[in-house]
């Protein structure tokens, strides 16, 4: 860890004692500390990602943990994923349908909603649910282990905490996110069909025939690729924040909060980048 002096010394101390200069000095120092901290954080997360990928080589030894974590992730988020996907599909159908009705085009929601679900809403809404539910849990778990010296204990026993804790979680979250995204895509499309049938007089049969003609393999697999990238992002941020937690319970809280906020930001950033690369 880098130790950085918080108090200026020597010439800097003299300059800092002049009121205006001191104020500017402190602002710059604060910004510098913030920036260094952010770089430290990103550096640690990238290190952890590389280390987790290397640990994949011994994934077969952790199958029990992977199965357990996958089970926890899927069943811990199924209801929320179901609801967010359902309402995303319904909202999409309702809002686009109302507009399209003005041009008597409401029957084309069958083209719109499933494509939007498979490309965007399914992967993103699932990832956001997973970040809040599972990512936050990972950060809290690992953070608690860090502050109670459990990670140190593993290290002293020559058990690599990344291999033991982070790698199984990364695999578990990738598997769960992919499966849940697929489910969310389908639920959302069905939600759109229900709204179409109930409010817009769009025949569900027509809706699904339209969906079938437009949905390409690229949409399905592109969406799943996103799910995979989001899952790796969430678990890396969560484990990295957890493993660096300090100062007891408060530090665990901070790690959890940061995991959620950073995950949301990176999910949207990567969503744009992948969309841009694919289409």
């Amino acid at each position: 860890m880098v130790s950085r002096p918080s108090e200026p010394n020597g010439v800097a101390a003299f300059l800092a004692s002049i009121p205006i200069v001191g104020m500017i000095y402190r602002r710059i120092a604060a910004m510098n500390a913030w920036f260094e901290n952010a770089c430290d954080g990103a550096g640690h997360a990238l290190d952890l990602l590389a280390h987790s990928l290397r640990a994949l080589a011994s994934a077969h030894k952790k199958t029990d943990a992977i199965v357990l974590q996958t089970y926890k992730a899927v069943f811990g988020s199924l209801v929320i994923v179901f609801l967010t996907a359902l309402f995303s599909g319904m909202i999409l159908a309702l809002q686009t349908g109302i507009e399209l009705q003005r041009y008597n085009q409401e029957s084309s929601i069958g083209y719109l909603v499933p494509v939007a679900m498979f490309r965007e809403m399914g992967p993103v809404m699932t990832a956001i649910s997973l970040a809040g539910l599972i990512g936050a849990t990972y950060a809290a778990e690992l953070g608690t282990m860090k502050v109670s010296e459990e990670l140190d204990a593993l290290e002293v026993m020559s058990i690599d905490p990344v291999y033991f804790l982070a790698m199984p979680r990364m695999i578990a979250l990738s598997l769960s996110a992919t499966a849940l995204t697929l489910i969310a895509n389908i639920i959302g499309s069905v939600g759109g069909a229900v709204v179409g049938q109930a409010y817009l007089n769009v025949d569900a049969g027509l809706y699904f025939r339209n969906a079938e003609t437009l949905l390409a393999a690229k949409d399905v697999f592109g969406g799943l690729l996103k799910a995979l990238v989001f899952a790796v992002t969430i678990s890396t941020i969560a484990c990295s924040q957890g493993m660096r937690a300090e100062h007891g319970a408060e530090g665990v809280g901070t790690a959890t909060m940061r995991t959620v906020v950073y995950s949301f930001t990176y999910i949207l950033m990567f969503d744009y980048l992948i969309g841009w690369a694919l289409y």
Binding site: E141, M145, V156
Partner: protein, 279 residues
């Protein structure tokens, strides 16, 4: 005091060692060595030039007030902390040198954490079995045998199926001790093994420490506030104050010491040089 070369280079060097252990009359080999270790943590110099040599087969007790850096000292020996200046060596290998040396060193060390540091998510049995499962190819039956054997030594055979959260503080500590010794280490670092234990259990643990030393020739470093325990099990002891060992000697020498600081500490008096000036 002036030291002449003639004094140092003697034909028959008399090396004083209070209780030569395995090599009567000769200098026993050094198992653990800290040389001029400096360490600053949280802006405060916790260790400032600490030096210590512990011989093979010896039990060395470190005593000293709360917050003086006893746990920090132990952490330097297993490489959880690296000295800012100075070196730590175990069996001649530098702790913070090559990573294969570090794993070799850790293989030989059992570490009892002050707060136990058991993994909360698995049972006591699994905690103790963990180092065996990760590093030794043993059949389930052999693992069970060794784990139950160690749990019986710390009188916890009944609690094997419990989770750490279901144990009392003292029980957790003993479970952690069982984990520390399960791979039969040749060096054991005990961070306050008897704190929070009733007198009878304390005495069991003291007997265990003595037994491990006498029967298996284990080298031990023991951090403790419990003077009775230190006097009973230690061959030599050292008092940590102000980042250094201010006195190293036999329990006899400590008991009969005229030094007011030592007297105050071992008799637990509230009046004296330790409390006169705020550190």
């Amino acid at each position: 005091m002036t030291v002449r070369v003639a004094d140092v280079v003697d034909e028959n060097p008399i090396v004083e060692h209070p209780q030569p252990t395995s090599f009567k009359g000769k200098v026993p080999p050094v198992a653990v060595e800290l040389l001029d270790v400096h360490k600053t943590l949280g802006g405060r110099e916790v260790l400032s030039g600490l030096s210590l040599q512990v011989y093979r087969g010896e039990t060395f007790a470190i005593i000293g007030g709360s917050g003086q850096g006893k746990s920090v000292t132990l952490k330097h020996i297993v490489g959880l902390l690296a000295p800012d200046r100075g070196v730590a060596r175990v069996n001649g290998l530098a702790v913070n040198g090559r990573s294969d040396h570090l794993s070799e060193i850790r293989r030989q060390i059992g570490y009892l954490f002050q707060e136990g540091a058991l993994l909360r998510s698995i049972t006591v049995f699994e905690n103790v079995a963990l180092p065996l499962r990760e590093h030794e190819k043993l059949a389930q039956k052999q693992i069970e045998e060794r784990v139950m054997n160690k749990l019986a030594l710390v009188r916890l055979a009944d609690a094997a199926a419990k989770y750490p959260s279901e144990l009392s503080g003292g029980m957790r500590k003993r479970a952690s001790l069982a984990r520390a010794i399960v791979r039969d280490p040749s060096i054991i670092l005990y961070d306050e093994p008897t704190s929070g234990l009733d007198p009878v259990t304390s005495s069991t643990i003291n007997d265990l420490i003595l037994d491990l030393q006498r029967k298996l020739g284990v080298t031990s470093i023991l951090v403790t506030h419990d003077m009775a325990s230190a006097f009973r099990v230690a061959h030599r002891m050292g008092m940590l104050l102000g980042g250094k060992l201010i006195k190293i000697g036999t329990p006899e020498e400590f008991k009969t010491s005229e030094d007011p600081v030592i007297r105050q500490f071992i008799h637990g008096e509230s009046e004296g040089p330790l409390t006169r000036e705020a550190p």
